[in-house]
């Protein structure tokens, strides 16, 4: 028997797509940059050209179907071929295409001009999160999906920004030319924000360039658009555009937070503190593949629960977490997490899910390993 509350939730999940959030959006948005508006203009231009051609061609066709139907006694004329007509319907489309190609070329040339940027941000795709590095500012962080698992599995009502929300958005100032340098740590991803008309592939081993100059403050949402594995649909992009002043303040706060994190790596941590922090870090960085319960996915992602390396071989365990495993989906986490988080995750994995080794490793030991040449 379902309780009343459960019924309300069940009823709600069935109904609100059609009621509360009904948005019959049928077109591209014009966006908030000069480039996005000129793309929108091109889109509408080619759309109306197609509509006009469709009206003429389908008009003639349906009129013929109606006028020359056999049931109305139509007798077929046996004419065929007419050089003039055939030349016309070849040349006229070419002229239309030339007219279309000219503004398209201009817009594309503009989109490719990444010169004179005021801020450079490196965007790195990971399975399944984005890393943002503000070059020359010593600020760098990861941006993860923040929609709770319960909403995805329909145990909780879905929020307004379901699947389009992150823990830390990319913050950018308005009115500045920002250059993006895109790359990937594993497979190919693609970084897209529709309102900014920025979409570019992030390819492992190569760097792509693009740029944006946002005109209005606000929050702009997008997603990864290149199939990148299991959680491709759960890899949103959120950009928060703020004033220059706010941006500078935010950068300062970020730098302080990073300094505090460094200081944390110096102090002594208890097993319990590490375990608790490790659980959080595990859910954020490891659970997408190895699963929240450590059971992994058979033949794809190994289980950590009861895993012999995790239980008996601390040295190898640390090595895999720090440096990854070549030829597999396991990345080198030394590039993704600080010493505290790495120590915490390893401590957590060695003690969670009945692994119960009772062993811990300190952030200082991890830091020492990170400092020594490999």
């Amino acid at each position: 028997m379902l309780k009343k509350g459960q019924l309300v939730i069940l009823g709600g999940t069935l109904l609100y797509p059609v009621t509360l959030f009904a948005e019959w959006e049928v077109n591209m948005e014009a966006g908030v940059t000069a480039v996005s508006r000129s793309i929108y203009a091109l889109h509408m231009q080619i759309f109306w050209i197609c509509v006009a051609i469709a009206v003429v061609v389908f008009g003639v066709m349906f009129w013929s179907i109606f006028r020359y139907r056999k049931s109305a006694g139509a007798k077929a004329k046996q004419f065929h071929e007419n050089t003039l007509v055939e030349l016309a319907w070849t040349i006229v489309p070419v002229l239309i295409l030339v007219a279309m190609a000219i503004p398209a070329t201009a817009t594309l040339t503009d989109m490719y001009n990444t010169d004179d940027s005021e801020i450079d941000v490196q965007i790195t795709g990971y399975q399944w999160k984005w890393q943002y590095q503000y070059l020359g500012e010593e600020v760098s962080f990861f941006s993860n999906l923040s929609t709770p698992m319960e909403q995805i599995s329909n145990q909780q009502a879905k929020g307004e920004h379901y699947l389009l929300e992150v823990d830390e958005p990319l913050v950018l100032p308005v009115g500045k030319k920002v250059r993006f340098l895109l790359t990937s740590n594993d497979v190919i991803h693609s970084w897209w924000v529709p309102a900014l008309a920025v979409k570019k592939d992030a390819i492992p081993g190569f760097i792509n360039e693009t740029w944006v100059n946002i005109e209005e403050e606000g929050i702009y949402r997008g997603q990864c658009t290149e199939l990148c594995g299991k959680n491709h649909g759960f890899m949103p992009v959120v950009v928060q555009a703020v004033s220059e002043q706010e941006f500078q303040g935010w950068l300062q706060d970020k730098r302080e937070a990073i300094a505090a994190e460094r200081a944390a790596a110096e102090r002594v941590w208890t097993m319990e503190e590490l375990y608790q922090r490790g659980e959080q870090a595990y859910l954020k960085n490891c659970a997408a593949c190895h699963q929240a319960g450590g059971q992994g996915v058979p033949s794809i992602f190994p289980a950590l629960k009861g895993n012999s390396i995790v239980r008996f071989d601390m040295k190898k365990h640390i090595d895999i977490v720090l440096h990854g495993r070549s030829g597999t989906a396991m990345p080198a986490f030394s590039a993704q997490m600080g010493a505290v988080d790495i120590a915490a995750v390893i401590t957590y994995e060695r003690n969670a899910w009945g692994n119960d080794t009772g062993e811990m490793i300190s952030p200082q030991e991890i830091q020492a390993l990170l400092n020594e040449p490999r």
Binding site: A54, A104, F234
Partner: protein, 522 residues
């Protein structure tokens, strides 16, 4: 004596007939039945996808399995359903249309068919393996399909190899047949358009299937033998994969549509009771599309960071393809103009083909505009586009062809009522499924996602309902065909009033051996 001779020429009974046959009609039938089976398997996978996407949230399947379904749906439909269906039609109809007694290389013909069931059994079996089947999309971009692939990828590679061998051999056979076995008097420019479009398609197949074979072989050595063709870490380039894949993949798109153009060019004149408006310009348009198809592959890669000059080249070349494609559409319309049109099921599917394929052509032209593609790329707008050209395009043309030639194959008429019922259900289902995808794509929904944000909910629900309707209407098709074979009323040799061509000069059903003596073409 006479009895012994005719016994010698009749097919053997039982399974051996189908295993050992070298008869183009038997092999054509096997291709068509195989393709129909694959169509239902690939279609069921589409229904799994659509039921997961019925509502936001994860309800039916895990994301991992969802990716396997999108991948397998694409692979099965492209390589298992559409391509074999066209080869089946070619087998049945090309010898009948050019007045040849059989295909030029009958044993090779048997082999090219019998490779296929093994290839696809192997491909489907990966779904049951540890780690699941291919989950990297039908375009299998490296490194997702190499370093990050499930272990079953090796079986996938070999099944692609087998399907590729089948296609290459089939194409060689078609080229040799058309070039050498035309009846006396049938010059190239007298060949029916279906034969012309298939001749050009066969050249495309021979040109690009080896590229695909090379590409999957490079994947194989990257995975097992330590090479780094597609890995930057070893000095390779993931984009090399995309260039190779799309050098195959774009002509492949035309492989799936040129024979459809041929079919429509047979059917529209028949039911308009009027010759095709511009036969020669249709042939030239087909050839230009085929040539241009080798120069446009990177329009699938506008976002990978090509240099500006390359973007402009591929944008212009792609836009240019709309010119010969437009010529085709104008020709069909001009053929109907001042005709005497009747609306039997093949004609209904052909008219729907012209309208809906043209809509797919329009969205293709929009996608060709490179700056706009930065917004369209990898969204549901693209999914809408290629389904419009492939489902009401290629697949509707196959339905039209089946209804058109079924009386010749079976000697029975199908039920016009059931045929029209199949048409209208499919027509409504297809548009309900794929038209809303334009809207969600433009509004920002990426493709290949198992879950989506709430603003896309309504249109996705409509798409899923449409998919169920389209899927179920194919059962009507099955019933119509089976009823036609079993209990249809007898068909005359030429059941269509306006039909022209050698295939209608032989008896219905077409005897096991036809044109043992070549007909004379005026």
């Amino acid at each position: 004596m006479t009895a012994a001779v005719s016994a010698h020429h009749a097919p053997v009974r039982g399974i051996r007939r189908w295993l050992y046959t070298t008869n183009h009609k038997d092999i054509g039938t096997m291709y068509l039945v195989f393709s129909l089976a694959m169509f239902f398997i690939g279609g069921s996978m589409a229904l799994v996808i659509r039921s997961e996407l019925f509502e936001p949230g994860l309800q039916m399947v895990e994301p991992e399995f969802f990716n396997q379904m999108t991948t397998m749906h694409g692979l099965i439909m492209v390589f298992g359903a559409v391509m074999p269906a066209f080869v089946g039609l070619a087998n049945w109809m090309i010898p009948l249309m050019i007045g040849a007694p059989d295909m030029a290389l009958p044993r090779l013909n048997n082999f090219s068919f019998w490779v296929l069931p093994f290839a696809f059994t192997m491909m489907l079996s990966t779904l049951l393996m540890d780690g699941g089947g291919p989950n990297f999309g039908w375009t299998f971009y490296a490194p997702l399909s190499t370093t990050y692939a499930p272990p079953s990828v090796t079986y996938f590679i070999f099944s692609i190899h087998m399907a590729g061998i089948s296609s290459i051999l089939g194409a060689i056979n078609i080229i040799v047949t058309i070039m050498n076995m035309r009846a006396p008097g049938m010059t190239y420019m007298k060949m029916p358009l279906f034969v012309w479009t298939w001749l050009i398609t066969a050249f495309l197949l021979v040109a690009v299937m080896p590229v695909l074979a090379g590409t999957v072989t490079m994947m194989l050595t990257d995975i097992h033998f330590g090479t780094s063709f597609f890995s930057a870490g070893g000095g390779g380039d993931p984009l090399l994969f995309q260039h190779l894949f799309w050098f195959f993949g774009h002509p492949e798109v035309y492989i799936m549509i040129l024979p459809a153009f041929g079919i429509i060019s047979q059917i529209v004149p028949t039911f308009s009771r009027k010759p095709l408006f511009g036969y020669a310009s249709m042939v030239y348009a087909t050839a230009s599309i085929a040539l241009l198809s080798f120069t446009v592959w990177a329009h699938h890669m506008f976002l990978v960071g090509l240099p500006l000059a390359a973007e402009l080249f591929f944008m212009y070349a792609t836009m240019l393809i709309s010119v010969p494609t437009g010529v085709k559409v104008f020709n069909w319309v001009a053929t109907m103009f001042k005709g005497s049109i009747s609306f039997e099921t093949p004609m209904l599917f052909s008219i729907a083909f012209i309208v809906l394929f043209t809509i797919g052509g329009f969205s293709g032209l929009m996608l060709a505009i490179a700056p706009a593609d930065f917004q369209y790329h990898d969204t549901y707008f693209v999914v809408a586009h290629f389904h419009y050209v492939l489902v009401p395009g290629a697949i509707f043309s196959i339905f039209a062809a089946v209804y058109y030639w079924l009386p010749k194959w079976t000697g029975h008429m199908y039920s016009e009522l059931l045929g029209k019922c199949h048409f209208w259900c499919s027509f409504i289902g297809v548009n309900l499924t794929f038209f809303p995808m334009h809207f969600v794509g433009l509004a920002g929904m990426p493709r290949r996602v198992p879950d989506y944000s709430l603003q896309f909910a309504d249109f996705n629900m409509i798409s899923s309902i449409g998919a169920a309707l389209f899927g179920l209407s194919q059962l009507i098709f099955l019933v119509t065909v089976v009823r036609c074979v079993l209990v249809g009323r007898a068909a005359p040799d030429s059941p269509w009033e306006g039909a022209q061509g050698l295939e209608w000069t032989v008896a219905s059903p077409a005897p096991y051996h036809t044109f043992s003596k070549p007909p004379l073409v005026e």
